[in-house]
Subunit: 104 residues, 4 copies
């Protein structure tokens, strides 16, 4: 599956449930941030070191919350006509200029 | 570019800057949520309708914030060994059971 | 009850449960943002107009999520030695300069 | 200054700028979460220990972001008619039942 396949699947899923009307960029940005908040909840009391060696339950819960973030991100990008991977490549180029390698 | 290519690019980028030490799951979850917050900022005062017909600046700013969310999400998944698209597929199956199509 | 009373109550609550060790500013900032995410969840699919005339359940749920945000905010400020109301007054002065009244 | 004084100040501030129209609960919840995201940004790469002994700049920046969170939280509660401190007291009672002191 590619991001594009996932976008198609989500579009079909929303259409079958008559949810397209709720999927404005404003609402989807809220849903995305709310899912990012659920991901935060999983890590709020663990140390950075513990998060590097997660217990099975944490790993499983985190992967489902990451899935939720991806789902709303891909849906938002699809609705707005944004090519996510292309935007990421552009952002990395900007970051490479801002933070040159080999410089403190 | 695929998500896997992006993960490799981000790994190289972090290694060249000696940033791996900061990229614990806990820290990356915070960075991801902070970027989701920047996306929220763009939409906080616009109406849902305005967000459906974004002005050029909003579209451009939103695509860069979405890129930041994707970057931290892909980096987090890579560090934790999570297959994002597979997790999304699993989550969609769970949602299909929870919200059957054709039911109010 | 004042904010200062609330801070004292939270300190006692944490001490009685041996939770002080988890209450670093970093962790509390995560908990605060995670609760802000739960508040977002309540409003993600309602229209701005519907949110102005909330149903009883939404109002009740929202007031408890707001309470959680306040609790972590007051705890964070107490741990860092920040006077929240004084900081808010300072911020409002800054905003008054940035956005003068009577100017578009 | 009390929370109630702050609410009055914010109401006056909004009225003088004709901002009341933007201050729906939905929009204010977004603004609050976006400010919580800015607070996250300040702590994302520091260790929990470093956050306990913040440098002057971090402390100053954090106090202004906390002020922003308080401002939107108090404004949201005022618009919705919620007594924040009373809601916090209720939430603490619920938590005391959920997590009795002296129990692991």
């Amino acid at each position: 599956m590619t991001i594009s396949d996932l976008a198609d699947l989500l579009d079909q899923f929303a259409n079958e449930r008559d949810w397209r009307q709720y999927h404005t960029p404003k609402n989807l940005a809220m849903a995305l941030a709310a899912e990012a908040g659920e991901l935060l909840h999983l890590f709020e009391w663990v140390t950075p070191e513990e998060s590097e060696n997660p217990q099975e339950k944490l790993l499983c819960d985190a992967s489902l919350e990451m899935a939720d973030v991806l789902i709303y991100l891909v849906r938002l990008a699809d609705i707005m006509g944004v090519d996510l991977l292309e935007a990421a490549r552009r952002k990395i180029d900007m970051n490479a200029n801002k933070y040159p390698a080999g410089v403190e």
